[in-house]
């Protein structure tokens, strides 16, 4: 894939997705079926008022976006993708105040489906906050309805 296409996708990706933009996501690395996206800590996204821990739902959104970004830059060059299913395991609460980073990798892609793994961490990158696996549709120009 050309660097030009990757850079274009990287800069346009988050800006074009209202929900990801609303949550303040930033795409930091992208290419060859991999993507890294960060999401800053935000008081509005707290799910447990007692501890100040970010809601699982916001972490899900980050992981879903990151997985979708990884699919979009796979060498098969899909023109679109949608989540078929996503399973998220929450290992530990993210530290309140920390930015959350998600790294996604398409580990297998067929003509119609991409299988993706995602790991999310806070400042302590040695212990994941959450991991996810998902299946995503591959929409190609030829198959477009």
């Amino acid at each position: 894939m050309s660097n030009e296409r990757q850079t274009k996708i990287a800069t346009q990706f988050i800006g074009a997705i209202p929900y990801s933009r609303t949550l303040g996501m930033t795409l930091t690395e992208i290419g060859d079926g991999r993507a890294t996206i960060t999401m800053p800590y935000d008081d509005r996204l707290v799910g447990d008022p007692e501890t100040g821990v970010i809601a699982g739902g916001a972490v899900s959104a980050l992981m879903d976006t990151c997985a979708g970004a990884a699919v979009m830059v796979h060498e098969s060059q899909p023109i679109g993708t949608a989540t078929l299913d996503l399973r998220i395991d929450y290992m530990r609460p993210a530290k309140p105040g920390d930015m959350i980073s998600a790294i996604a990798e398409c580990y297998h892609v067929t003509r119609s489906v991409a299988f993706v793994r995602v790991t999310a961490t806070d400042a302590d990158e040695s212990r994941p906050v959450a991991t996810a696996t998902g299946a995503f549709t591959i929409q190609t120009a030829k198959a477009a309805e």
């Binding site: 209202p18 929900y19 809601a55 739902g57 980050l62 879903d64 989540t83 399973r87």
Partner: protein
Amino acid sequence: MKRPEPVQAVKQRRDAALQSLLEGVPYIQFMGFRFDRRGDELTGVMPYQDMLIGNPMLPALHGGATAAFLETTAIVELSWAMMWNRMEAGEDVTGLRLPKTIDFTVDYLRTGLPRDAYARATVNRSGRRYASVHVEAWQDNRTRLFAQATGHFLMPSIDD
């Protein structure tokens, strides 16, 4: 026979308990989630907002917004089921700890359309430590689900 409680007192108690549960969670307020109550049955509502879009070309709801809606509905249903008996016994149920998500699997069945979405959760198993909850979400037709999910939750310990 004991006289039944006045209907207004019953409604006021239940609505206040539900309200305190929802108001305590910033993310529920941020997303604008509401819960309609009929007796003990809750229906989650995700009112449409432009910020919920994930694919502006279609347009379609963001899978992450849908996941968040389903997970919130599961947690609220589980908390509500947990507090019901104590609430009905007249105990103070404000400030109870929330269950924590262990895992959550979302099955995306149809494109989420740019309009309101509804969800109902069923607690399939609730033990002292773990619970398993299934959630279904729809938009225009109750029988045409656009997403469903199953999750496992760690229950707050009673002594905390």
